[in-house]
Each structure stands twice: as C-alpha cells, then as structure tokens.
C-alpha cells in the first residue's frame, strides 16, 4: 500500500460530489475541488478563494467566491472511455487523472502551488492514436455557486498570448481575475459567454503546460520549475509535521491524508485569515470560521507550525470589533464572537439556519444568538497556544483585550437567582446542537468560568450536577426521554429532517448530536479522573449520534485516557478518513452542508498525538501517557515546544520525548 497516494478507478460522474471533496487540492489561498477537468457547475466545480466574501443577489448572507475554472479541459474525437483513474499524491498535493479512450490517452497533472499562493499549474498530455483529437482548454466560468451567481460584469481578453477572464463580485465590487499562459502556441481562441478557451487539434502526442494566476500577475518560470518549488515546500511542511506510524499502513495513509488536508487549507500567504469549517471545498457553511479552528485545528498548528497557529489566533484578535458589535447588538458587554465568522469578524450565521423539509420554510434556530461558548473557546485556544509556545507576546498584541472582552461578555450574559451571587447561564446551546435553549450547559458554564478566571474575575459560576458520577449535560437532561438512537431514527418521517429544534426527533430525548460532556472532559482533562471519564463515556457514547465530524475525536481522546485504545481506534479511523470514505451528513434540512471536514482531520491528529501517544502538558512540561492501539508497532512525530524542536516516539514498550 502506498501511504502517500489515494486513487479511484472507473469513471464515476455519479460520485462527483464526494470525489470533489476527496481529491481536493489547495494552498491556503485557493482550493480546487477534485472534480474532473471536463466537469462544470452541475458537478460542483469550484475554485474556492480564501477570505473573499460577497453576497449573491437576493441573499441575506455572504459566502466565499468561486473563481472561473482555469483547469477546464474537454476532448473531441477521443471516443469512448476504456479505462479511467483519478488519484492524488498527498505527499505533494498533486492531482492526477489518466483516461484511456478509444482514440487517445489523456493524462493531466494539476496543483495549487505551495510556493506561490496565486499560482495554479496544469500539465495536459494527450497521446493520440492517429485520429484527430481536439483539445479544448481554457478558463470556464460555468462553475458552482450554491446560492446564486456572485460574479458579474465579465470580461474576456487575449493579450500577448495570455488569456484572461475578469469579473467583479456583485455586492462589494471586488475584482476577480484569472490569467493563463500556455507553452504551446498553435491554438485557436474561442470566447463563449463569459469563458475563453484555447483549441488545439492533434493526431499525435502533445503536452500542454499551463501556468495560471488568480488575482495576481502571472509569474515567470516553466511548469517544471514551478513543480520543483512546490514539492520542496511540501517537503518542508512534512519535515515539521509528519507522524510516522509503523505496523498499520491503512492508519498511516489515513493520517497522512488528514495532515495533507490541514496543510492544503492553511492561509500561509497572508495575515488576517483563518480556516473555514469546510476548508476551501466550496461555499457551504458560508466559508465561515467556527470554533472548529480553535478547538480542533489549533493543536496541530501549535505543535507543528506555531507561526501559523499565531496567525489563526490573530484572526480572532483582529476581528474583536465584530465580536464587540455582536455583543452590543444583543445588549451585552464585551465580546460575543460570531458563530460563523467571516471577513472582519462579521457574523455569517443567520437566525434561520435550517429549512423545514415539510414546509420549505426557514426555521428560527439559535446557533447565532445562544451558542455563547464560542468566546470562551477562543480564550481557551489562546491560552493553550501560549502554554505550548511560551509566546506570551500575543497577550500585549491584542490577546489581553480579547480575554478581558470575552470575560465581560460572560459577566453581562449571566443571571443569578435572588439572594445568590452564583452566576448561571440560562438559555444557551452547548456543543450538542440538538438541544437548543438549555440552562446551565456543563460545557458552557465551565468555559465561561474559565474565561472569567483568565481575566482575573472571581465570580462564582454554577457547577455541574452529577448523578452517580455522571455529569448532567444541562439542567433537566436526565429527565428527557431515554431511548435508543435507533428508536429516535425510526421516528423520522423524512430522511433529510433536522433532528434538532422544537419539533426535531432528538430534541426531547437524551440523544445528542456530538460530544458535549466528553468535550468538556477533554478540554479540562486535569479536572477529571480516568475513571470518571470512563463512566461518562459509557453513559454518553451510546446516546451520541456523532452527527458532527467534531464528535469522534473527543470520544477517542476520552477512551485513550482510560486505556481503551481499542475503543478509540475506530473513531480515529473515522475522523482521519472522514473525507476519504465520503458519506457523512451532507444535509441539514434542505440545506447542503457537505464539503471537506478539517476539524475531523485536526481531530485525527489530536487522537494520534494526544490520545495514542498521550502528549500533554503537566506543570508546563510536555509529558506522555500513551495508549497505543494494538494495530500500531510505534508512533513517532516531531513537535515544537517553546521554540524547541522535540520528537515523540512511542512503542508498546517505551515512550520518550527527545
């Protein structure tokens, strides 16, 4: 098994959506879905641009822009398909397709340059078998837009053999330009609608090298030179982040794949950006930044690339004003961070985030206004970043303001009962979104208390209730109907029904969407004995739908804590292979929520390093408490602690940090 390569054989347009996620390439600035070159909008072709948000006409929210597709290639005269393979070199972010037709063999390599953030490259090879083959390639504007068309005022140009499509976004009038040069000059140019194509005809072999730039000048250099620089950059990234597993090639491949994705979407090219919940795989989830970044991605970057981790935190610091504005809008003090954060910290989450499948009406949801744990999650991630990097300069660089403002928010959002000074958080949503408007969510209360303490506030916060050592997820949770996941599922009338909100099948039961108490126990691991984690795991795991890709990681980490790597292992594989195996929830009501799952990838890294190897800080020092799956012989990885390069190596006999 090649642990650096994934591939699928057979031409399968019916799987275009899953393959689009599975074979994604990206460089943090641009993400290109793994759709075949001949595909167009209806197969969800997207060249997704990081950090550029705009509102499509008639919509109430912004979403990221998909540029015109410069990787478009179509043949004529090639005949029927005999054999087809799509593959991805995950060591170097190289997408390949090879298709054997009756009259030609088509091979294409493409990549988003890791060395130059605005550059995409494509090499098209056609081996004709004597009959004339027409190759149409160019910049195709017929790309996926999930909620209406974003680009208007198109212009197509040909200047000095460079073809170019430019347009502007409809709301904010942001210019978008795609330029391309090709090494092969003998072509006709055809401009159709808003696209421009080169047309080649050959009876023999031909290789077309295409260099593309988006929103930037075309740089010089040949395809091979670009490829070399790109590979060198990838090798550098792996040298700081590769996790070597022996004894389990499938696990090795899966984890490599997860880390590949994390690298592909990290915005290394520019300050002021963070990583959207669906990476750069399209416009779903509005290209917004969720708590996923702080809780599930920060550990990877903190350990392997602290500069990148700092940048992610700086995004929150830089967007503090958005959080202050949001708090003020709701009548609170301080900083209430957006649930779905876009450019400038604008809240992208609407009040109606689900569409009812029966009435087609939007349903009022409370993710935006009641999921108040978000500010605390950010404070938590900031402090963890400092703990591992010792980079407390970030505090004076805006971190302290963020911490103070978050604490002020919680203080103003709290209530007390008459005659008591204990703060309670009434009417919130915890990580488990199937239960809206709950009181004293254990997770929320603890993260709020944490946030208050970091700012030096000593207000008492209602602790969590326990029965026989089981922490109640929120007030009254134990009184909800206690039925099996299968029973709840059997009550669905429509397959795309949303399980939460007032009429949802889970909302009145103990069935939860994702780790909630277990997430609490992971974030505040010091406060819970292994035995207590075990007890809570055994109670909550069977009641968890794992309807979010954030869920498996927390349960796996919990299982490692009480020495059950066998329970953690399938959850690790599920997390690591989330986008590889496809499937997963792609619908919330009638809203498509598919795309890649960076948090699952980050979670896989967390399970490998914090779970299986058991890396954690104790009294400010990195320590190990391994729980290695029997499938592994060893695990080894580098990490950075306080600016020093370290290496963890764990076998079944030995565990050490050097």
């Amino acid at each position: 098994m090649d642990v650096w390569r994934i591939e699928r054989e057979g031409y399968e347009p019916e799987n275009a959506t899953d393959n689009g996620n599975r074979f994604l390439i990206g460089n943090g600035n641009i993400g290109v879905r793994g759709t075949l070159e001949e595909y167009t909008a209806n197969k969800l072709v997207a060249v997704n641009l990081a950090g550029i948000y705009d509102r499509a006409p008639g919509q109430t929210w912004r979403e990221p822009i998909n540029a015109p597709n410069p990787f478009f290639v179509q043949l004529e005269g090639q005949g029927a398909i005999i054999k087809h393979t799509q593959s991805l070199d995950i060591r170097h972010g190289l997408h390949h397709r090879e298709t054997v037709y009756e009259n030609a063999i088509l091979t294409i390599e493409r990549f988003c340059s890791m060395a130059e953030a605005s550059i995409l490259c494509q090499r098209i090879s056609v081996q004709a078998k004597g009959k004339p083959i027409t190759i149409i390639t160019g910049i195709d504007s017929n790309v996926w837009d999930i909620n209406g068309t974003h680009l208007v005022d198109y212009e197509t140009e040909l200047i000095d053999e460079v073809i170019k499509v430019s347009a502007i976004t409809s709301e904010l009038r942001i210019p978008i330009t795609v330029s391309e040069r090709c090494n092969h000059k003998e072509n006709k140019i055809r401009e159709i609608d808003n696209s421009v194509f080169r047309i080649f005809t050959t009876k023999e072999n031909i290789v077309l090298d295409r260099i593309i730039s988006i929103n930037s000048e075309l740089t010089s250099g040949t395809y091979d030179e670009k490829l070399k620089a790109h590979i060198e950059k990838w090798e550098l990234l792996w040298s700081a982040s590769e996790v070597k597993i022996t004894g389990d090639k499938k696990a090795q491949l899966s984890l490599n794949y997860s880390i590949y994705h994390l690298h592909s979407i990290a915005p290394r090219h520019k300050d002021g950006l963070s990583i959207p919940a669906r990476g750069l795989s399209g416009q779903t989830y509005k290209g917004a930044i969720f708590w996923d970044t702080e809780i599930f991605l920060m550990p990877f970057f903190t350990l392997t690339e602290p500069k990148m981790a700092r940048r992610l935190m700086k995004y929150r610091i830089n967007t503090l004003q958005g959080a202050l504005d949001k708090a003020a809008y709701y009548g609170y003090q301080g900083a209430f961070y957006p649930w779905e954060s876009q450019d400038g910290g604008l809240e992208g989450c609407t009040d109606f985030n689900v569409v009812d499948v029966f009435t087609n009406r939007p349903v009022r949801t409370h993710f935006r206004d009641l999921q108040i744990h978000i500010s605390g999650d950010i404070v938590y991630a900031l402090k963890k970043y400092i703990d591992w990097t010792n980079d407390d300069s970030i505090l004076s660089d805006g971190g302290n303001k963020l911490i103070k403002a978050s604490a002020d928010f919680y203080l103003s959002r709290a209530f007390s009962r008459p005659g008591s000074d204990v703060l309670e958080f009434i009417d919130v949503i915890g990580p488990d979104e199937y239960h809206e408007r709950v009181y004293n969510s254990a997770f929320t209360n603890r993260i709020a208390e944490y946030s208050l303490r970091q700012a030096g506030y000593d207000n008492k916060v209602r602790g969590y209730r326990e029965i026989d050592g089981i922490i109640e997820q929120f007030d009254g949770y134990f009184d909800l109907e206690d039925v099996s996941l299968d029973t709840v599922r059997s009550r669905l009338v429509h397959p795309k029904e949303y399980w939460g909100t007032q009429g949802g099948v889970a909302s009145t039961t103990q069935i939860i969407k994702q780790a909630d108490v277990l997430a609490l126990m992971q974030l505040f691991g010091d406060e819970f004995s292994d035995d207590k984690i075990k007890k809570n795991w055994e109670y909550y795991e069977p009641r968890t739908e794992h309807g979010s890709s954030l869920s498996a990681c927390m349960y796996a980490l919990g299982a490692c804590r009480f020495g059950r790597a066998d329970l953690a292992y399938p959850l690790f594989m599920k997390s690591a292979r989330s986008d590889l195996d496809g499937g997963g929830k792609s619908w919330a009501g009638n809203i498509y929520i598919g795309g890649t799952h960076p948090a699952a990838a980050g979670g896989a890294y967390m399970i490998a390093t914090q779970g299986f190897a058991g890396l954690h800080l104790k009294n400010g020092k990195p320590m190990l408490k391994p729980s290695l799956p029997e499938q592994f012989d060893s695990i080894e990885f580098p990490f950075i602690f306080a600016n020093k390069n370290k290496t963890v190596s764990v076998t079944h006999k030995k565990a050490e940090i050097c």
Copy 2:
C-alpha cells in the same frame, strides 16, 4: 325576534358538531351536548360529568367522563323527514326538537334540572298518523370518547321498571350509574351490548315522560313537577343576572345566550369544583380549569352570585397542594398553579400539547412549564373578588396562604443580572401563546410584581419597555418581522398547522394569537391613560389573529376605555355569539379543541357591564364610565356590591347606579 330562543330549521347531521355546542344544556353537574336523540358516538354525543376525571387506557392524561346517554330515541316506521326544527329556550334551559315525518310527528323536550343536579328529564311525544310507529328509547352507551374508552365493566339492569346502566372508570374505578323511569309501562326491554332500551309501538299519539338520574337515587315527582321546579330556579338566576338592552334585539339575544351558558355550567351542587375552559361540552381541553375562569368568568359571578364566585376561588385554595407540588417538581418554591387544572389541582397539561400535522408527532410545547402568569392571575382574581364583595374572610380561609405561596413562587422563579437587584422573568410564555420562551413579558412581569406586592414583598421587577408609548410585549418583540396577518396566513402549508412553536408561521413575526399587552392594560386599567390604551390598541389590534376566544373581550374593553364603542361592538357580538355562530378555531395541529367557549360568554358580560356601562371600582366604590354603542338605547342590570343589591342603568343621556 324572540330574545330567549334560538332555533335552526332543517335536518343537518353535517352540522352535528357545531349544533352540539350551540344547543348545549347543563346544570353545572351535567352537560348534555345539543345532539339529536337518534345520534351516537360519531356525532359527538356526550353527557359530560363535572369534576370526574379518569385516564383512558394508554393515555398519559386524564379527561372528564361522558356517561351513557339516557336521552337516546329512535323511531321505526316513521318514513322520510318532511320538516325539522331544533331549538333552545335559553331563559329556562329547555331543549326542543320537532320533526315531521311522513308517518308521524316527533316532539321532544329535555332539560338538565337546575333544581336537582343529578336529574335529567325528557318528554317524548309521538303523533302517529295511523301507521305503526316503533319508538326505541333508553340508555345508550355508544357515546363520544375523544381519546379512548373510559368506561368498563358495564352492567345493565331492569329493577321495578327502572332501567339502569352502570359501569366503572378504567383507571380510578369510579362507579358511573344512569337510571331511568318512564311513565308509560307497555314496553319491551331490550339489552344490547352495554345499552338498555325500551321499545314501544303505537299507531296513535303517545307521550313518554322519562326521569333520569346520574350517579344518584332517582327522586320522586312527575315530569311536570320537575319542570316547574327547574323553571323557578332559572327565574331566580335571571333575577340576579339579567342584563337588559333596549334598541338592539340581536345584541340582547346574544348576551342572554352568553349568560345562559354561564349559568348552565356553574357547579352550584357541590363544593370543590370550578368551571372547565370548554364548560361541560365534552372532553376537549381535558375538562380542565384554565386562567379563563379567574380572568373571564369571575367578574360575572362576583357581580351576580358572590357565593358561586367564592366557590370558584375556593377551588384554587383547596388545590394549593397541587400548585406547591408543581413548583417543587420544577425546583421552585411556593405555588405554581397548573396551566390545566383537574381534580385536586393535578396538572392536566402535557409537555406535548400540539401534534405536528406533517409528521404526526407530538411537539414539545411550554404551556405547562412556562406560562407562569397563572399563579398571579389567581391572586389577581382573589383580590378583585374581595374588592367587590368585601368578603375578606376568604383570606383567613386559605386565601392568605395562596397569596404568600404564589409570591414565593415568583421570587424563586426570578433572575437578576449580576450587580442588580431587579427581578426579571426569563423564558416564559405570556397570554399570546404563539411566542414561546420570551423574556420579560410585560403582562407576566406586571402580574408577578402584583403577586409579590399582595404578599408584602417589595422586590423590584423589570418594568416594561416602551417605544413612542407602545409597550413592547416582551424583550425583542419589536425586532420581529413586522408583516400583516394575511401574509402570515398565506405562508401556511397545511390548514391545521399550529401557528406557534419554533417553526410556526407566527412565531418569528409580530403577529400574536390574542390580547396580551391589551390584557395587561385591562387588568391594570388604573395605570394607563385612555390615550395610551388607544395607542397600544391601534398598534396591536391589526397584529392580533384573535385565535383565542379570550382575545375579543380585552380589545373591546380597551376600545370602550377610549370612547370607541363602535370598535367594541363587533368584538362584543363576536364574543357573545361565539358558540351561537359556530366556527372559530377547532384544531390545534391535529388535536380537536372545539366545544363551548365560556370565557367568550364571560367576556361578553364584561364588555356589556365594564365596557359599555363602564362599571368599575374607584377608591373602593362602584363608578360608571359608559361608552354605549349607538345601536343601544339603554342598558340596565343588577349587581351585588359588598352584599348590597344595586342596579346600573345607562342611556345615552344618563348613567346611574342605584
């Protein structure tokens, strides 16, 4: 126009449900739906018993019992219907039907004795036209049960010419017995299933007088003697309560009809009962007592029959333990009265009070747990009772305990923001049930504050916000979508959809179910200027669906306050004719909520006396502020104040209390 009689011509089985409500007779102990004698269960035949609650097998709530129907009559050999009239003498509670068939004329009179609470009487006259007519009459067990069969272990008997059906309730094993004697002896007896019938055959005229008792011994006396005692009792009731309107016979009839209903359902026979929200018209709303009784019925009984009013208040005093238990269940102190109160103050309201029409699943509603204004409503009614009757003996007779316990409840239910001692009521439902889980409902906060003050507590309570003199119904109400009632209605996908709960069409708009701020302004009328009431009326009325029969009354009273009897008049007619005209909302989701509307009847009385005549207390004395509709020449009525009989008479020129 006969202002004491209603009638419908034509045989209309398709209107059996509306007519069942329209022609209801009752005596406070027993209510008999106005269904024709030959009807059975599928036409909602019900002999509804006050204060006896039981759970049908498989149900989670109790509902009142319908006894076997002793008024059953069926003819054979009569031929086709030529003419049919059903009518009700509302002066004396006498139900009549006359049907001319090809071969016979059938006339039946029936009544629930106002003189003997367990006695029903029926006179059947058949004029045969020479052909043999068979008359089947008796006690028919095939009666309406809305949610499953309540009675089991039936026995049928014939002893000394008395026929008898007895059974027991399935949960609590309460015996139910119906006995009947008939003046005419020449009959055959037929026992079928759980019913027993007398069969007469005649070719001539025959009159059958039937005396029936339910759950009691059959008393002696002829039909005519029973009728005389019944009529005398009704005359006594009218002498204390008749409201005379000149100039508008339709209004006079309608108000007579309302008062007729109030008398028919008042439990004069026994301590410990109150009046259910659907009177004695069946099992809908579980036969439970709502705030309707305190806010919409108490004024009538307080002014016309203080002993009855005291009994209604005593019901709440006697069921205090149920309210203490409910508060304790939710973790609060004091008394949280049931939203739907049954025997012993048991909460009849379930957590799932609506069925979703699309999924057929019960939906979690919050009437039971969040409609906390109920305790304050009861305190309010108690104090008003004392203000009008000066009977403060009720305070030492349990009233003080009720007041203290209600205040304790509110205190424990309140929250404050850190650093503030102002109490807020978070997460409640006000009178407008289409908006669940709101903060600081203006109505709720004021009634809670009132309740606290009556117990001598001086805690501050968050006042209501105003914009340009308009009181905001609850925090954030003005931010909701401001669309017309028609627009909201046009969004319905299914005609029986419930408008409230998280996905309901009204829930995210300013469209409200019923008077809420206007109810506040009526209950605390002293605190608002006429001009302010006008402003709020003009804002809220177009935004009100009037989806509850409690709504029109409050708006009518408001309109009278600012001198617009013309606006009040149609609302008065709507209230007074609620059960006469039929229609109205009979469905909440898939749950049938039809039946009679005592609160609308009580509301009609309130509009006539407090609105049009403007009777109110000022500094403890009855005063008038009339606002007579132009349709009326005068209005005149007796009332009792502090044990003294008084009379109000109002014309367009003069208003006086003697």
